[in-house]
Point group: C2
Chain length 405, copies 2
């Protein structure tokens, strides 16, 4: 541990230290390095098997060090959700960004135009689903003497963004055609995650593929190969399967965008992984699935009633919108090693800085004990932390990563 | 607006700029300065009328610039929830911190001991509700040759932390007595917000008051006056009323800890304010209530269906656990002024970076339009932002504040 205070994740990372030795102020978010490495390799093999590119959604982690790990593991680019996220990635040397959202507002146009002006080698594209938005982009980027690359976004009725039908698509394409040199169509994009059933997911993917083919056949893309992109973190296997229809088509560049595979979880994405491993032959051949890599350590703060513990871990520290954190390990300071937490220890409520843990009256759980929690929904856990510690299998700190939220 | 990019809240604040002129990348969180000033003065008058001290809960904002405004408006100190928060406040010259939580874990003990070592004029106290925790504090601070000030925390059955009965209280007090010079009892504390009905709130406040008197009468406080502290942001009026029983008692120093009064909201705290103004004579005499001061501006990103707009504002940008953001203003770029948003525009769902807004089919709401949202639950909105802009009544940027989450 570093001499003098205050302790910070960065100073701890520099100095080494151990979660179990209480060298670190808790609560803390940790990334388990062996699991990270496993997940990087898993996704590299999966996308290689399908011959598709990977542009992991960086909004999940917003951590430049993790972007770098993903790019070093072969990712084609980084997907992002907002213009300020693109700026943060650019500042950390990411030079290929797919914005899986509409770019709206002059403030955001300017952020992107400034990046394109700073480095003409910066590759950036966003999605469009309305003629109004295309016209606004056209006016702005034409005035700047720049070109903005766009992908037509396909959506589903009752879903989120994206054109619902061919009439909307044609209106967008017609507007793009009015801005030669300022707005360039480079592909078609879909976020299938808003269609919850597999049949609906496959249907929108097939419609997206048909739209891509229709534009290609009409000579509508500014260049070939043209991008066909889909896949959040829950259905990337189905996207790979459906878009495999273009396998070997030299005109097509398929780009998948899952973000949560890097850390996985024990909630929504573990359930998705169970489905993937049951149905996808490539995943099945790889054997082991993704591993949860993002965990939280916290202290028992109070044992006010026999069946209740209050843990110093709150909504400020962990996602709570897709299931509460799940106790995984229990460690009493100075014990030899952590034990598995009993399955009946369950978080039943959270406040800003507290979690309410149900236990049994006779359980040996004391104030000051350490608990390690698994989580559900990495995105809304990452954004609680400016730094996360990287730990080894023995819970020793071997590094730290910053986030840029 | 500043020349060159990237725009940041800080550079915008330095350069001036306007939300309506789209000088700022949206979404953005803004603090409306006239409302902030009003709220500071409101709470100054309220606490002055009761003759009590104010230690606003700083975990709400974690913004040193706002701590400074609160202290300049007469606050006695700043309440905080965690040791790292206390470090952040200390680094920004706050020298009186009440930790309204147990201090647990060696990492956190060390953070606080280091602050006490750096400045012997730093006043810090935390709460205790278990003999185990007192013993751990005693061992650590005795070994450091330091003393830690503590308040006995009173709790309610089925609630959060705090002793449930006299036996627990006596066990804690007995353990404190074993650590003379290392653990010093300076008061009694309660968080009444976990008792949801007014009768329950009054009951636990009365029990807290009785406990304070019993300890005082037994000579149990290390010094007089001794602190009696309560009050989250929902029941501070009832706390002031109940603790007014000690008005004029020179042995007592009553400290209230609301944090959300500074920005207020249109959800949980507007409902609390309605109750307060209906029942509390001091509030009623002051006339106008607290004003919502924290708002969010965002762009309409997509109009994919006649009755639906997708707004570029997500769970990454706003609290969503106590009601979704509420559209307040609608502005079309280049219009003269914003209009009030129709009451039927309602957020029905949020994703990480998107809000789903129900509108009527004929409503004139376009991609690129700006919407200003009120919020519910300031704490979980503040923690989404590293900077917030300070704006005047015309939505011009007049400053910015940082946060230290």
């Amino acid at each position: 541990m570093p001499a003098g205070g205050p302790w910070t994740p960065s100073s701890i990372a520099a100095a080494g230290g151990s979660i179990l030795a209480e060298d670190v102020s808790l609560p803390v978010a940790v990334l388990e390095e062996p699991a990270l490495r496993h997940n990087l390799e898993w996704m590299r093999r999966f996308t290689a098997a399908y011959g598709v590119q990977l542009a992991p959604h960086g909004k999940t982690t917003m951590s430049p060090a993790l972007f770098r790990m993903q790019l070093d593991a072969g990712a084609w680019g980084i997907t992002l959700a907002t213009a300020p996220q693109a700026v943060a990635a650019f500042e950390h040397d990411v030079r290929r960004v797919l914005l899986a959202n509409q770019l709206v507002g002059k403030g955001n146009f300017e952020l992107i135009a400034d990046l394109q002006a700073r480095d003409t080698g910066f590759w950036f594209a966003c999605v469009v689903d309305s003629a109004d938005n295309v016209a606004a982009l056209g006016r702005y980027f034409a005035a700047r003497g720049q070109c903005i690359k766009v992908l037509l976004e396909i959506g589903v009725e009752g879903g989120r963004t994206g054109v619902r039908d061919d009439a909307q698509a044609q209106a967008v394409l017609a507007e793009i055609a009015r801005w030669p040199g300022a707005v360039t169509l480079v592909g078609v994009e879909v976020y299938e995650g808003v269609a919850r059933e597999e049949a609906g997911v496959r249907a929108v993917l097939q419609r997206t593929l048909a739209q891509w083919r229709a534009i290609r056949d009409a000579g509508g893309f500014a260049q070939l190969p043209a991008i066909l992109s889909g896949a959040g973190s829950a259905w990337f296997d189905v996207v790979a399967e459906e878009f495999a229809a273009l396998s070997g088509d030299a005109d097509a560049q398929v780009v998948l965008r899952p973000g949560c595979y890097l850390t996985h979880d024990v909630g929504i994405y573990r359930r998705a992984a169970a489905r993937i491993h049951a149905g996808n032959p490539v995943a099945r051949d790889m054997g082991e699935s993704l591993r949860p890599a993002l965990r939280l350590w916290a202290c028992v703060q109070s044992r006010p009633e026999p069946g209740k513990a209050i843990v110093a871990l709150g909504k400020r520290d962990a996602a709570f919108d897709a299931g509460f954190p799940v106790p995984a390990l229990h460690y009493r300071p100075d014990a030899a090693a952590p034990a598995e937490a009993p399955a009946h220890w369950q978080v039943t409520a959270m406040m800003d800085q507290h979690a309410f843990l149900d236990v049994h009256a006779g359980d040996d759980l004391r104030v000051g004990d350490l608990l390690c929690f698994d989580i559900s929904h990495p995105c809304l856990t990452f954004d609680k932390w400016r730094h996360l510690l990287v730990v080894d299998a023995a819970h020793r700190v071997v590094g730290a990563v910053d986030t840029c939220f």
